[in-house]
């Protein structure tokens, strides 16, 4: 894509082991990323078949200027979500974007199902489907260790892999990318598992001559400087996203103990400061990002009498501290890290796993399910039980964990207790009970994530709440993020990559686009995504929100479902205007 008006797409058919490479000049106008992936998903998906049917594709894509500017470091994955049954869209950092660009591909489409456990090795034009039988069943971290030794490309390759949860097709299984990053949300891990793909290794040694050195390097330096010498990224580098734990709790927006509360009395003990002071041992970065927001916490665990210890290092962030901390009533840093380790090695999405267990705990307390089903006396604050429960969830231990592994919405509908199943359209909620913009944002957002349109930020920024303004802000943000995600820029850098900077970066790399053209691209992408969702049978007006959201006060007080309904209708109205408009 870079300097070329075409997208190079690698198609892999696991059923026949057939590999095909296509130059898609017709898709060049999308700038890659979510735009390109949406089109490829649209072309290859089968809405009439279940999400885990062998025919269903998984699509990975990078952007037009991936890897050549700071923080343009992400890869997007698109698929039909086995968790929600509709649009699946997930982002991961690490080294994957660089590896794909060095392998020479803008996108990879994988479909079919392998005949036996396999892993895919992509080394430039050489693509092999290899035997994964000996590594099937392994924890996510161990697979990485084995493949690092048996495969080439050290220092410039990327290794994606699933854990046992993905193999068992737990509907919110994740894909681990390069040890510390993930395609976490919406169940890509289950899809990979259903195709019998344990891992995908990407490497290559493509080189690309710089066309206009002076302009490019000037733009690079300006962006690099604003990353390292201004306050724009300081929060992410310093304490990291966990800086928000205490403040969100103080605002009354931190879902606690399955959102029976909006403040956590143990927030100070698991705050960003607490983690940094007690547990932080190092920071890491995605390739091409000088920020280094990946915070690694370490703790030691006694495993036998006497002085027998093992050490555990895992990456922590706000969302994980929310879902495996506050939401489960855990107020010790070690215990949060302990639970993060469990979701890491089994390969589960941390948010969904926490929400599912919080629901199970309340259901047990209320007598909706019994200990015969949960097998453990799950209680808020007891991390040992939760650790074990995560292993049960990943292995689908019994009928109860089997159902919970279908998602919190499914479990709520099966056992009763859907009123406190914390999900929106099937996706377990992120850690912000901020108000209407958050709830509406999660409902209408393309992937029902806080990252679609940042409703939580809209709630915090509007001084006096105004329905129209909130809907407007959500729509505009979702639209703009279509553009950022087509370039697959890390959303932590969304303020840095304003239109002026995006244009500067693109122009210096030979894309002579204007501001208006970028808006048109954003609109085109958003329209494509909306149509995809429609094809998959989604209508935001039909989303039923659990009653708990309207019972436990948000930071803006108790919420009314009628207001949410009105705002969703307004939003849908705006979408139909976009869809009929000429772009």
């Amino acid at each position: 894509m870079l300097y070329e008006k075409t997208a190079k797409v690698l198609y892999i058919d696991l059923a026949t082991s057939k590999i095909e490479i296509k130059q898609r000049t017709d898709l060049a106008e999308y700038l890659g990323g979510v735009g390109l992936a949406s089109k490829l998903l649209d072309e290859t998906m089968h809405p009439e078949l279940p999400p885990l049917a062998p025919e269903q594709p998984m699509v990975f894509a990078i952007g037009a200027i991936s890897g050549i500017y700071p923080l343009i470091t992400k890869t997007v994955a698109m698929f039909i979500s086995p968790l929600t049954g509709e649009l699946g869209e997930s982002y991961a950092g690490g080294r994957l974007a660089l590896a794909l660009s060095m392998a020479g591909y803008d996108a990879v489409v994988i479909h079919g199902k392998a005949s036996r456990p396999s892993y895919i090795a992509i080394d430039g034009g050489n693509v092999e489907i290899k035997d994964a039988r000996p590594i099937w069943g392994m924890d996510s971290d161990v697979v990485g260790q084995f493949l690092r030794d048996s495969e080439e490309g050290s220092g410039k390759r990327s290794i994606m892999r699933i854990g046992p949860a993905g193999e068992k097709m737990v509907k919110f299984a994740s894909v681990c990318v390069d040890t510390y990053r993930h395609f976490g949300r919406l169940g890509l891990g289950a899809l990979m598992g259903s195709k019998l793909v344990k891992a995908i290794i990407v490497t290559g040694d493509k080189t690309t001559k710089i066309r206009n050195f002076k302009d490019y390097f000037r733009a690079y330096q300006t962006i690099f400087k604003s990353v390292t010498e201004t306050d724009l990224m300081a929060k992410y580098h310093d304490l990291g996203t966990s800086i928000n734990v205490e403040s969100i709790s103080a605002l009354g927006a931190l879902p606690t103990k399955n959102l029976t509360n909006n403040r956590f009395d143990g927030a100070e003990q698991i705050s960003g400061e607490a983690f940094a002071e007690e547990k932080l041992v190092r920071k890491l970065a995605c390739t091409g990002c000088p920020v280094g927001c990946i915070h690694i916490g370490q703790f030691r665990r006694k495993f036998d009498d006497g002085y027998d210890y093992e050490s555990v290092s895992v990456a922590y962030d706000y969302e994980l501290i929310y879902s495996l901390g506050a939401l489960l009533g855990i107020s010790k840093t070690d215990e949060v890290l302990h639970l993060i380790e469990a979701v890491e090695k089994t390969g589960l999405d941390a948010i969904s796993a926490g929400v599912a267990l919080a629901w199970a705990t309340e259901s047990l307390m209320k007598g909706i399910v019994t200990e015969t089903e949960t097998l453990l006396p799950l209680t808020f604050g007891n991390s040992d039980n939760y650790y074990q429960a995560i292993l049960y969830l990943a292995s689908r231990k019994n009928v109860f964990y089997q159902a919970l592994g279908e998602g919190t919405r499914f479990a709520g509908a099966t056992f009763g207790g859907d009123a406190f199943a914390l999900q929106v359209a099937g996706n377990e909620i992120p850690g912000y009970h901020t108000g209407y913009a958050n709830l509406v944002g999660l409902t209408v957002g393309a992937r029902h994530s806080h990252l679609c349109n940042a409703g939580y930020a809209v709630d915090q920024s509007l001084k006096t709440f105004d329905e129209n303004k909130a809907v407007e802000a959500l729509f505009d943000e979702e639209l703009e993020r279509c553009l950022l995600n087509s370039l697959v820029i890390c959303l932590f850098a969304r303020k840095l990559y304003n239109r002026e900077t995006v244009l500067k970066a693109l122009n210096a790399a030979g894309y002579s686009l204007t501001d208006d053209e970028l808006t048109r691209i954003a609109k085109r992408i958003y329209s494509t995504k909306l149509r995809l969702k429609e094809k998959l049978g989604f209508d935001p007006r039909l989303v039923e929100l659990p009653k708990r959201f309207f019972k436990t006060p948000s930071m803006h007080g108790t919420l009314e479902s009628s207001v949410v309904e009105r705002m969703v209708n307004q939003y849908v109205e705006k979408c139909s205007v976009l869809l009929v408009g000429k772009i």
Binding site: P70, K156, K206, F213
Partner: protein, 136 residues
């Protein structure tokens, strides 16, 4: 004259800004394959990072010693400079370097040798890499 030293690698976050800017400035290429410095991990990202780059050998300079055409000329402060005109692309220097710090450019068929310009150090966000004046 200064030499490049990777002196604080414990602080490395693995951002590869050094490789990106080395390839950009010295080879005018976007690919880290063109960088004269390589950051590697031992044991994946859980291990420590190591910078594989010219150690600025002085006096006995293995790569210059084996060069049959005298294309690698000793630098005053240590290390070598490549005279591209004289180089025949025999790759002997690549194998002579004990720590594998000389890379071979498959496009140009010439070695990629660090010239201690320090651009990598300039873009290192944690001061892991530094350009240092060493006494002689």
């Amino acid at each position: 004259m200064k030499v490049l030293r990777a002196i604080e690698m414990n602080r490395c976050i693995g951002c590869f800004s050094c490789m990106i800017t080395c390839a950009t400035v010295n080879q005018q290429d976007h690919s880290i394959m063109k960088s004269a410095i390589r950051i590697k991990t031992s044991g994946g990202l859980t291990g420590k990072f190591i910078a594989i780059v010219c150690q600025a050998c002085q006096d006995d300079v293995p790569c210059a010693e084996v060069c049959p055409t005298g294309a690698l000329v000793k630098r005053g402060a240590g290390g070598v400079l490549l005279d591209k005109e004289k180089c025949v692309g025999c790759e002997r220097c690549v194998t002579a370097c004990t720590i594998d710090a000389i890379y071979f450019d498959l496009d140009t068929k010439r070695p990629i040798v660090c010239k201690h310009c320090g651009v990598c150090a300039r873009f290192c966000p944690h001061g892991c890499l530094q350009l240092i004046e060493e006494g002689h």
